[in-house]
Symmetry: D2
Subunit: 328 residues, 4 copies
Amino acid sequence: MAKNYSFGAGIWMFGQFIDRYATDAYGPPVSTLEAIDRAGAVGDLMCLDINIPFSDPSITTTQVKEALKRNNLKAIAITPAIYSREFRSGSFTNPDPKIRKKTFELAKQAIEVAHELGAKYVKFWPGQDGYDYPFQVDHAQLWDLAVSGIRQVAEFSPKTQFAIEYKTKEPRVHISFSTAARTLLGIQEMGVNNVGIVMDFGHSLFAKETPADALQLIHKHGKLVSVEVNDNWREWDDDLAVGSIHVIETLEFLYALRQIKWKGPILLDQFPFREDTVGAALASIRSVRALDRLLDRIDLKALRAAHKNQDALAAQRLVQSVLLGSSE
Amino acid sequence: MAKNYSFGAGIWMFGQFIDRYATDAYGPPVSTLEAIDRAGAVGDLMCLDINIPFSDPSITTTQVKEALKRNNLKAIAITPAIYSREFRSGSFTNPDPKIRKKTFELAKQAIEVAHELGAKYVKFWPGQDGYDYPFQVDHAQLWDLAVSGIRQVAEFSPKTQFAIEYKTKEPRVHISFSTAARTLLGIQEMGVNNVGIVMDFGHSLFAKETPADALQLIHKHGKLVSVEVNDNWREWDDDLAVGSIHVIETLEFLYALRQIKWKGPILLDQFPFREDTVGAALASIRSVRALDRLLDRIDLKALRAAHKNQDALAAQRLVQSVLLGSSE
Amino acid sequence: MAKNYSFGAGIWMFGQFIDRYATDAYGPPVSTLEAIDRAGAVGDLMCLDINIPFSDPSITTTQVKEALKRNNLKAIAITPAIYSREFRSGSFTNPDPKIRKKTFELAKQAIEVAHELGAKYVKFWPGQDGYDYPFQVDHAQLWDLAVSGIRQVAEFSPKTQFAIEYKTKEPRVHISFSTAARTLLGIQEMGVNNVGIVMDFGHSLFAKETPADALQLIHKHGKLVSVEVNDNWREWDDDLAVGSIHVIETLEFLYALRQIKWKGPILLDQFPFREDTVGAALASIRSVRALDRLLDRIDLKALRAAHKNQDALAAQRLVQSVLLGSSE
Amino acid sequence: MAKNYSFGAGIWMFGQFIDRYATDAYGPPVSTLEAIDRAGAVGDLMCLDINIPFSDPSITTTQVKEALKRNNLKAIAITPAIYSREFRSGSFTNPDPKIRKKTFELAKQAIEVAHELGAKYVKFWPGQDGYDYPFQVDHAQLWDLAVSGIRQVAEFSPKTQFAIEYKTKEPRVHISFSTAARTLLGIQEMGVNNVGIVMDFGHSLFAKETPADALQLIHKHGKLVSVEVNDNWREWDDDLAVGSIHVIETLEFLYALRQIKWKGPILLDQFPFREDTVGAALASIRSVRALDRLLDRIDLKALRAAHKNQDALAAQRLVQSVLLGSSE
């Protein structure tokens, strides 16, 4: 059976997890190189989104390149960790110009590493950019910092493809690039053409979007750079295995990916705090493949007719006929 | 193939829908007798939960009985409309003793009609009992009214089975009987043994419960009287067709029903504002049956082992193997 | 003491309320003319947003004009009821071209009435435009209908100011124009310059926005046409009295209104289901005035310094010093 | 002016914060003894809720006692860290009996330390007890483990006062003791009389309760052991400074504390990730005191009359008259 998509993952899902309660972490430390080996152990991943700085200052890009090679992996993206301690009060939007400069410097490093590793894009996930309290910020100023900070990087390296991964909150209580529409507006305000969006399925659910709908909006504006998948309970970025909760909406999202002729890869973004990471990755790949195969069996002509009539029950019946089997 | 459950419905789903915007209603008026005929047209319903007062004061219980008979339907429950205009500021918890007395009188009528129609329980859905604003009520007083009002009815007719359908809000912004646990506490405080719970799957999702979990809690306390099903987006009581969104959680709920050996019936509670009502009812019945049949194919021994280990990925794989088919 | 703002209201808040449970309504019917008289009874309103069609086909625009005059009121906006029964499956996005045409015709009537009554804008609140179920619609098609439908009206009457009031849901389970950012994107796609936004404070809370932030975004894009206020519990459009819950965020919103030099009016949008409407309106006006006066006493220079540093505790202390009084 | 309450705090708010993104933590490590000194620096705290194990195995209870003494602090509670790495899949509900035994052992240590330090209660915050995925657990089994695990400890040391701090989620995606009502039911099932509840204001908001209402329910059942305060945006346990968002609901909660004649102390539970901890603690104490003083000025007789009538607007006016000042 044809495999429509190749898969990748964020390297963080193979690292050490920690949170504010299990401060001794959910497992032992994992170096960047070890994480790449773990990703390789999945056996079905083609590429990684890799964080810089690497886990240890002594690790070189050459070592990372070798680790990728021995695991048959490529770097698809470089994501600078603009959310660690020094950026705790913001990266691009930090009130301190020195930290904003450090953000820019780290972005430059990310561009270099991306170039060395042949990555397709540099991802910004400005999870500390925003605010916690009412009245904490002048919202117009904050938004200007968010927009101009990324514009500056994009103008510095006009041939690099950048992408913003939006998220409504966490760790910052309110994050500036919160939704697909708001991020599209921000990108327009930047006035550059090398900044797009990484759409994370779970962040879209969390932002109370319908992922299939957010996808078409981003695509329509020509800004879709990459796609990440996982699942959650809709009220937090739980980063669970794909299809574990929102089966129908994941299926609808995969249908939307077909509509825009997405050729992949699809990246996993999970935090299996209490599960085997490799097993959790395989579970997600299995779910995506199985759901995608269901689409082959849906009567798409009938579905398009149902869509033309916005006929919810007809569409549901078509979906259930392949998901639940015939009921007669 | 064995049909494990018989089905019933709330009569309101065959009536006229209205809301605060489409004040000319989503369709023409429907009398109680017409609604029974529509329910009969589904062809697969065995019983109805019937509201009193009937749509028109001239309709008699005898006529209702005849309408039920000609449609092969029974009355399983009588639900007094303690949420209409005169109860807009509360029924059992209304600050005005005259309205509380009217609530009691309407409850008495419900008992009589239930007796005449052979219904198994009288349902209270005190959707106007609660508060809208901070500081509006003395919460201890309000809770006392909620508890003592139903206790009074239960003591008045100790041989009648009563049931409270909890819901977190709507139409009241905060409803007193909001969750399974809180309602169980209230029933305990009543100190009577003829009041139980009607558990509505959608209300449970809306209350941020996991329905399968709420079910076991109610069952453990011996208070499960009836079960209603539908679906929603988890943030409002959308009353959509069963299985349209929460496929996995509906399946888990059906599994929980098997665990407690529920013999049915299962009642539909939908508001198909924009769909054909009979079609919407049939869609739900089809979903329940198809999902329930999937349970026949799950390796239950393996599932129990996964549960013993609380192994999320193993359990998910068992479920997906029947839902999505083999992925290898 | 200076009164910074004049006030208006949506005429609907003086009408008859109904919902899907209290189907006999929360009070007796109210005609358009009676509603205007009730609005006049508030004594502190200057203008109304008026729905068409009027409550009764026999009511003429001339009668409405007279009713406004005798109550010292003006029409600030005309809002066609594109959410009544015939539009239950959509107005601009209805799958049936005949209904889309009816939407256009009703919009044309709204333009005419706006002209006759001297209203400043025609408001579209397309509360039925969207979808209820996963897989119900082709999201790209739906969005195209939403955008092109309003574009068509805007191009038909280029001298009329139009405004979209966004809302995330209700009555439609998902509404196309859901958030400030998404609506701004839609307006851009229209390519016209006579469509803006009516920002409703409660809809912004409901959409999980921070209202002060949404305001600056709309203002920055030059699209703020009008402002409506109320309060809710953040998870539904409860339409409660201003300042009853979100005191701090209402204050921050009023601060943002000062920053953009909003000259008013401020419109009330409430549904006092269980309260006296005139009293509820007065409560809101009192809250806005009292909160706005507090701003006169905040040390704005110190607040701007706190904002420059994004210093949450400093800002909070400044706000609390006027709200709660000195604590030393 | 009379100070109605003394204040305490959870020692964790003076420790090192970390989360899953800023894995290098929001600041340097802080030992148990240093945290006590920081708490002492607030100057207005009387007691601490202290975690065991202490930060370093070499720290002795005697050293902790001395540190408390030199800072004029007492231990009010001991909270065993039953949510660290080894308990990541559950403490009382862990599927592995060896870990459940370790939980019991750690609870015994907590009892000993509580005895040595003269603490009033041992608190259980079983933040890892629950589930992440649908179908992961047998809900009846899980609940039994949750109830019986704490029962076992309570029966082991019948003279020790225990208290459960409920929370709806985090770190576990669903926590067993999630709401006030559910925890009360669980305590009843335990059949012991030395287990009560620590009510955290923020957890109550997060659980979609109205805190003043949850307080009366816990009090009515005689199970209120302690009270913790903070604030959040209602959708996560943000642990922000008191009164920063929910001014009205905090005031209502303080009113409810007066109604039940709570004599304190009131404990702070904050995570000032990006603020000065001592400053954040002082801000909260200031807010509680200022809000509590407002209660002295509210016309309580009129408020009780408003409550008797459930008159929202009258109650709101009484509250606003002291909060916002006279508006006439």
